[in-house]
Amino acid sequence: MEDKDYPNAHKKILASIQYPQIGEAGKTGTWRTMRPLIHEDKCIVVKTGTHNCHLCWLYCPEGVVSRTIPPTIDYDYCKGCGICANECPHDAIERMEEGGAKACPA
């Protein structure tokens, strides 16, 4: 969205105007030093085929983990904080050094 979508906004608002946009701070995935990796063989929603967990979706401050089966992570914006790995009750999320030999390709 931009100014042209709100043709009269400038007449009503005497201040700078901002419009919703993904990646406002850029690709914040580049901030990451540790990459969370979901091991589907250990994830309980994959194993049971039911939506009976999704704690990784719940606790992610950035909202980049999906509430799907299997859960997926948007690596373009995941900042790598590690909350998901720490909170997963089934140890299904491993953290790997970004760019290291062990890291998997993007």
């Binding site: 901002q18 919703p20 990646g23 701070a25 939506h51 999704h54 904080c81 909350i83 909170e87």
Partner: protein, 304 residues
């Protein structure tokens, strides 16, 4: 009381688009994520200078999908009052929720006169203080909400000498219809409280105080944000309750803590945080006493 909310019952749509400029693992961002899920698209937010301003982005773009007004540090409640007045003027006050969301500095210190005025007028808004227990956006200065013993850049030697202001009780003295405390580590509880505050539209100012851990300000590893908030609750340091028309009710996570033996040792909460690294035994004793006193007051209220 409300029924526990299931994860699958929470709205899936994100009101904050990813790629914000807040720190990784920011609990205020997590809290805001669920606040906006609870309030929905028909919400107008107003926010004073704080880390919460930062989430709304720089020139031209913002990650947040609802209309937001950035305002000056001391004026969030006044600006919310103005928004409510103009909505009334437009005949839209019944359908739109107005949320004033400010940090602890913007609430318990510089913003308190505006908040007290709005509470006295009982203006129809939700006021949320997200409490990261210091002025974080400007580099960790102590606020009236910083706990006793915490090291900040303005309390570098012995830690803070005073306890946290009890904002829930200050707001209760204004005779509000709804007051609640919550914690970012319990998103479902937090969500339910904001849904309730939204449903109480027309009943004046509803006040919710959310404890929200800040990894750089408190000094703990990013991955521990949820755990630290949980420990604040489980040790009894942060009691979660609602006060509805003057009646206090403890929230599910805090209910059992009326029994002191059910509280986790306070050290489990304090030791992982570098801001408490200089605590000496007598300071630790003082914090324990503070927690016990807090609970004695609560116990008297909920048992009668």
């Amino acid at each position: 009381m409300f029924k526990p909310v299931k994860i699958m019952d929470l709205p899936e749509e994100e009101m904050i688009l990813p790629g914000t400029r807040l720190c990784p693992s920011c609990a205020p961002q997590l809290a805001y994520r669920f606040i906006l899920k609870a309030l929905g698209p028909k919400t107008i937010v107003t926010v004073p200078a704080s880390c919460m301003t930062v989430v709304h982005g720089m020139q031209g773009a913002t990650p947040v999908k609802v209309p937001v007004l950035n305002t000056t540090f001391e004026t969030v409640a006044a600006s919310a009052s103005g928004i409510v007045a103009s909505l009334k003027n437009l005949g839209k006050d019944k359908e739109v929720t107005v949320l004033a969301i400010a940090g602890d500095g913007g609430t318990v210190d510089i913003g308190i006169q505006g908040l007290s005025g709005a509470a006295e007028r009982n203006t129809d808004m939700i006021y949320c203080c997200y409490d990261n227990e210091a002025y974080m956006n400007t580099g960790i200065q102590r606020s009236g909400s910083t706990p006793f013993g915490a090291i900040t850049t303005t309390t570098p030697i012995n830690g803070k000498l005073e306890h946290k202001k009890n904002m829930g009780m200050i707001m209760e003295a204004h005779g509000l219809s709804y007051i609640a405390t919550a914690c970012a580590s319990y998103p479902q509880d937090l969500y339910a409280k904001f849904v309730k505050a939204k449903e109480m539209k027309g009943q004046g100012l509803r006040y919710i105080h959310v404890l929200a851990p800040c990894p750089p300000g408190w000094g703990f590893d990013n991955k521990l944000t949820i755990e630290i908030g949980r420990l604040a609750v489980k040790t009894g340091f942060w009691p979660m309750y609602e006060i509805i028309h003057g009646k206090m009710e403890l929230s599910k996570e805090s209910k059992r803590l009326v029994d002191p033996t059910k509280r986790k040792p306070l050290e489990e909460y304090l030791t992982p945080q570098r801001r408490f690294r200089k605590l000496n035994p007598s300071q630790l004793q003082e914090i324990k006493k503070y927690v016990n006193d807090t609970w004695e007051t609560i116990n008297k209220r909920v048992s009668c």
